[in-house]
Amino acid sequence: MPIIKTTGLSHTYSGGTVFEKAAIEDVDLHIERGEYVGVIGHTGSGKSTLVQHLNGLLKPTDGKVYIDGVDIWAEPKKIRDIRFQVGLVFQYPEYQLFEETVYRDIAFGPKNMGLSEDEVDKQVRQAAAFVGLRDRHMEKSPFELSGGQKRRVAIAGVIAMNPKVLILDEPTAGLDPRGRDKILGEIREYHQQQENTVLLVSHSMEDIARYATKVLVMNKSKVFLYDTVEAVFNHAAEIEQMGLAVPQITKICMGLAERGYPISPNTYTVEDAKRQLTEFLGGKGRGE
């Protein structure tokens, strides 16, 4: 049974007025448990609208959303329970911090779940550990921290609810490369240890190629493709036409492969390309 399933999911903003706009149209998705899905698409392609449907923040104008086989809008009063199962980290989540201490801010979600003090404490500490926050941070005010640390506190606030599905909407926007790698590394570690489902919305094909197992490409309010990284990048030309770029290194390798060099066109990371290139150059013998 897929963890996330949508059938005919559509959402129209300002329905019935002149400002009517379809944000997503007829989305059918099957996402299996344990998948790490990269969600990519242009600004305005419906990515954010789609992910906000998965935890019931937006109500579909049409169609259904199933989480773990349950229609989430079957009982609208229980929609809060869905939000604990599907954790959503918004863009620039550091702006949602409000508590006096980091610890209490992270505990906001678990407390809302009605867990006991001990359980809350356990989940908060576990979540903080995942994002690399130390004990000395926990009693500080979140407003004293640096931008990157604030963001990690906000992410921990969602992880602390121990959701079955974790969705992150551009968690690295506005961070420097080191901060970006750190956060993405922590998310990967979380995914591997907890073996739950992660959806990562991103503009960066590099990041998605590096971390995701599946890619969901959104284009003009519709799902253009949902497949493995390799299968998706086989559509490189179409993806580029949409104005999305395949990773630079993939482009180089595709170019090399086209010119007859024994380099796989399905190369997504610099490390992989480096390995192939040294093999090729070494095999040929540089001394000739």
Binding site: Q52, R80, L88, F90, Y95, Q96, F108, N112, M113, V158
Partner: protein, 273 residues
């Protein structure tokens, strides 16, 4: 949700009313309001109604919109009408039952008051419907600029109004975002008692205030970077100029004003407001 809230609704267009200089519009609207209160009898109120019937089509605003804007004032209109009906005494009684007495004069007054309030709201809404908030504050600034002579900070006040208006949609959007983020963490805003609901606002208000202060800081810095130093010696990109349409507008209003004074005299024998 929050996005449905619109404040100072402005509907862009290119009608003669839209093209009126904001100063003319503000002055004419004020005159119209004074006029409505100067109208003493049904005949002169009718002149006021006719004025709206002539001017509204000129603005090319959809009728449904006009009616929608009147909806929130229905309770006030009804209340005033009912109070007038019961408490104004007259010679001809229509109903007399215990302590309740409704006179013919009372009923007339109730209707006239209702018409007056509706005209008042419809007339002033026309101003906000056809003038963008920014133009409106510009107009106010120019109209009040003589007050600068007696050290009233007219420019600063107008700038503050402009900024406040500009940031309403931004802050609404921000509130929406923060609410969604807290809801995603299981914040419950829809149930519980009064105290619980107030407490549920804390996770929204604190981030909202923090971000409002941050935006204010950023804006102040950005304005200083562009050498903003108050109103002195500042010129405008869009100069306000009075044109033919302003002359016509003023003439129409003068005509209406004359009509009301004439009607006040002519209808001296009617029910007086």
């Amino acid at each position: 949700m929050l996005k449905d809230i619109t404040i100072g609704q402005f509907f862009p267009g290119d009608s003669p009313i839209h093209r009126l200089d904001p100063r003319t519009k503000i002055v004419l609207t004020t005159i119209y309001v004074v006029m409505l209160f100067a109208a003493r009898n049904p005949l002169s109120l009718l002149v006021g109604v006719v004025f709206l019937v002539v001017v509204y089509p000129l603005s090319r605003l959809p009728l449904s919109l006009v009616l929608r804007s009147l909806r929130p004032i229905v309770p006030i209109v009804l209340l005033t009408a009912v109070l007038n009906m019961f408490f104004i005494d007259g010679e001809v009684k229509l109903v007399e039952w215990h302590f309740i007495s409704i006179s013919q004069r009372g009923v007339m007054m109730a209707v006239l008051m209702a018409v007056r309030i509706i005209c008042l709201i419809a007339g002033t809404s026309l101003l906000t419907y056809t003038t963008s908030p920014i133009t409106l504050t510009d107009g106010i600034e120019r109209l009040f600029s003589p007050l600068k002579k007696i050290k009233v900070p007219v420019h600063e006040v107008a700038m503050m109004m402009t900024i406040a208006l500009r940031f309403i949609p931004t802050l609404v959007e921000e509130t929406d975002k923060i609410m969604s983020a807290q809801k995603a963490r299981g914040a419950d805003m829809e149930s519980g008692g009064v105290m619980q609901r107030i407490r549920a606002l804390v996770p929204i208000l604190i981030p909202l205030f923090v971000s409002a202060f941050r935006r204010a800081d950023d804006l102040a810095l950005a304005m200083e970077c562009r050498c903003y130093h108050g109103g002195e010696g500042r010129t405008r990109m869009r100069q306000m100029k009075l044109g033919a349409v302003d002359v016509w507008g003023s003439l129409l209003m003068a005509l209406c004003f004359g009509g009301i004074i004439a009607a006040n005299i002519l209808g001296a024998g009617m029910v007086q407001l």
